[in-house]
């Protein structure tokens, strides 16, 4: 491969990582919420809420890091609506999640109209890690990124450890597999579910905020463009494992980056057919993932979507 081709490939893969990071946070968050037994289909809504607050705060304070944190918190707060309805009030989780998505898209379109076409004065920049960024090929792809991407690498590792190697991990898995047994073990099932649903919201907010403060740096109505639903699909692709989520998120980040690069290069393939690819591929992958999950008897957490009613023996 000649030098230009290599540099194009590196640019493409570095964009892949950044585009994948938008999906990585919400996917990790939903994995933990689902592991604890709460299905939250409101990811799309929480992502766009995070994206909107992240953008507005970054714009007004000129501090994109503050915007990121506020966007993340906004996603967390939005998730509490779903938590309250599905945990305390034992409502239908599918419909409540959909309502949260409609809510997020509606409210951000309502307040967001006057922000359309504004561009952030200050966005999050890449900071090369000394040493690591000098590794040929790998360095510029993974270690010439921004702090939030580095944060996401650490997050994947930490969350994997929490899930499989710590007590809170055992508790949250128990809450999703068999709530009554978890309760008998002394786990506060509903508190556990609240906590991880909130975590899921924080992560969705983080993904959205990353989209507006680092990736796109402008605001557009419906800017998330269905990424929340791709994240829901990635949870199954990842088989509820945070490390697999990283692979899945980068895979789709790659498709997104590639179709974008192709469109920018002025190809003759119609742009609508290129824009369709991430959704079409997710569609195909979800079918394959379902078949694999079934063949290996991996399956979703057993009590996913089932409210826990302690007083009913």
């Amino acid at each position: 491969m000649n030098v230009t081709a290599t540099s194009i490939l590196i640019t493409l893969l570095a964009t892949t990582v950044r585009s994948g990071t938008i999906l990585l946070f919400p996917t990790i968050g939903e994995i933990f919420a689902e592991r604890a037994g709460i299905l939250n289909l409101g990811i799309e809504g929480m992502i766009i809420i995070g994206a909107f607050f992240g953008f507005v705060v970054s714009y007004t304070t000129q501090n994109p890091y503050l915007g990121f944190v506020v966007g993340m918190l906004a996603g967390g707060i939005a998730s509490l609506i779903h938590a309250f309805i599905s945990i305390t009030l034992r409502g239908n989780q599918v419909v409540s999640g959909l309502a949260l998505t409609i809510f997020g898209l509606g409210i951000t379109s309502f307040y967001g109209q006057k922000w359309i076409n504004n561009k952030l004065p200050e966005s999050i920049h890449a900071v090369a890690i000394p040493g690591l960024s000098k590794i040929p090929f790998i360095g510029p792809v993974f270690f010439k990124q921004d702090y939030i991407v580095y944060f996401s690498y650490i997050l994947v590792l930490v969350m994997w450890l929490i899930l499989y190697k710590t007590k809170p991990g055992i508790h949250l898995r128990a809450a999703g597999q068999n709530a009554r047994a978890a309760d008998a073990m002394g786990v506060n099932v509903n508190a556990t579910r609240y906590f991880w649903t909130f975590f899921g919201g924080l992560m969705a907010g983080a993904g959205g905020a990353y989209l507006t403060v680092a990736y796109a740096t402008f605001w557009l109505e419906g800017i998330t463009a269905g990424r929340g639903w791709i994240a829901v699909a990635l949870v199954i692709f990842a088989m509820w494992n945070p490390v697999n989520a990283l692979i899945g998120a980068y895979l789709f980040g790659g498709i997104d980056a590639l179709q974008f690069q192709l469109q920018a290069s002025g190809t003759t393939i119609p742009s609508s057919l290129l824009s369709m690819q991430p959704y079409l591929l997710t569609f195909i992958i979800i079918i394959i993932a379902t078949l694999i999950v079934r063949a290996r008897h991996l399956g979703a957490p057993k009590e996913l979507g089932t409210p826990y009613a302690r007083e009913e023996k």
Binding site: S96, L98, S275
Partner: protein, 355 residues
């Protein structure tokens, strides 16, 4: 702390009160959201009501917006009753519109109008049904999660529409705009009242509601989908053919969404374009749920929500309140409704913490 006591019976009063109170609280939430923009919510709501029910013409526009909601929600009710989460009405609507348009745009202008209208309506239904059968088959054979598949297919459908409009189906005389040729008169559903846009689709909607009502209340299929919805394992033990029922339910559900899309084109827009209002597919979910999956009540709620949509467009144009307020109100109504449903199952008492 909250104490939950199981209820044995639910009074009709309570059943009716929950959705009504939910709508009220949804409007209050919308008012709070409006307050944050330093606008008087009373003025906004007055304009909204006026824009929806204020005159014969605005009310007719409310009914025009209600037509797709009536058709789609009737179909969704069939799927939701069996716990099949068809979130794909958006895409089924688009594909139905595309299928119907194919015949509307390619048949001779001299063809008899009733014949061509029958063909395009059937094509619209068929298109939506086929798009709905994809997730149905995946669910029936491999248990692929239908929420995700129906949703992803919405985006695929949207990009198919965009592809056609920017590519092969674009009218060469549209000066580069992504519009098809206009429908000839024989491909336009008749308008029912002079000086309004109320079209024959409303009759199709009423027929659909009656048929769906009969299907779910009086037929073996209706009974079977209810059993499947309540307890899939019990249904299997009882020898109910789940695969067959999923296929039939999704053919009806997708088909009616497709018919709604086609009716919107043939009755209102009169050409294929990118903006054909598939968002009704999401609003209809709220309608179906608010109606407790009863198609006749859903028809009435469709008129109310048609008013919200029509009024929402009016306030956007007249007093520049963004249309997003409509989605905000709709979702708030749904939140209160879902939360309120617990009152049907439990009596809730507040107990001071004794710990």
């Amino acid at each position: 702390m909250l104490l939950f006591e199981k209820r044995e019976t639910v009074s009709t009063k309570l059943k009716a009160a929950i959705p009504l109170v939910s709508v009220f609280l949804g409007l209050v939430t919308g008012a709070i959201a409006i307050l944050f923009t330093r606008t008087n919510p009373i003025i906004v709501y007055q304009a909204l009501v006026k824009g929806a029910f204020g005159s014969v013409y605005t009310f007719s526009e409310t009914l025009v917006a209600a037509i797709p909601l009536i058709l789609i929600s009737a179909g969704l009710i069939v799927a939701f009753r069996m716990n099949f989460w068809n979130i794909g009405a958006y895409g089924q609507y688009i594909i139905g519109a595309i299928f119907g348009s194919f015949f509307a745009l390619n048949m001779p202008a001299t063809m008899s109008r009733p014949l061509l209208l029958t063909i395009i309506c059937l094509a619209g239904f068929l298109g939506g049904a086929l798009w709905g059968l994809i997730p149905a088959a995946l669910k029936a054979f491999w248990e692929v999660n239908e929420v995700i598949t129906t949703l992803l297919l919405n985006y695929v459908a949207l990009y198919i529409l965009k592809y056609l409009m920017y590519g092969p189906w674009r009218n060469p005389e549209s000066h580069g705009f992504p519009l098809s040729k206009p429908f000839e008169l024989n491909a336009q559903l008749p308008r029912l009242l002079p000086r309004t846009r109320i079209h024959f689709g409303i009759i199709l909607g009423i027929i659909a509601v009656i048929i769906v009502y009969i299907i779910i209340k009086k037929t073996k299929f209706g009974y079977e989908i209810r059993v499947i919805g309540e307890n899939k394992r019990a249904a299997r033990y009882a020898g109910i053919n789940i695969t067959k029922n999923i296929f039939i339910a999704m053919a009806i559900s997708g088909g009616l969404a497709g018919l709604a899309g086609l009716a919107q084109l043939s009755g209102v827009i009169h050409m294929l374009q990118i903006e054909i209002n598939p968002g009704y597919g999401y609003t209809a979910i709220v309608v179906a749920w608010l109606a407790s999956l009863n198609p006749i009540i859903a028809m009435l709620i469709s008129v109310a929500f048609g008013g919200l949509e029509a009024g929402g467009y009016q306030i956007q144009m007249a007093i520049r309140v963004p249309f997003g307020i409509v989605g905000t109100i709709e979702s708030a109504v749904l939140f209160f409704l879902l939360g309120g449903e617990i009152l049907k199952k439990y009596r809730i008492k507040l107990r001071r913490n004794i710990l």
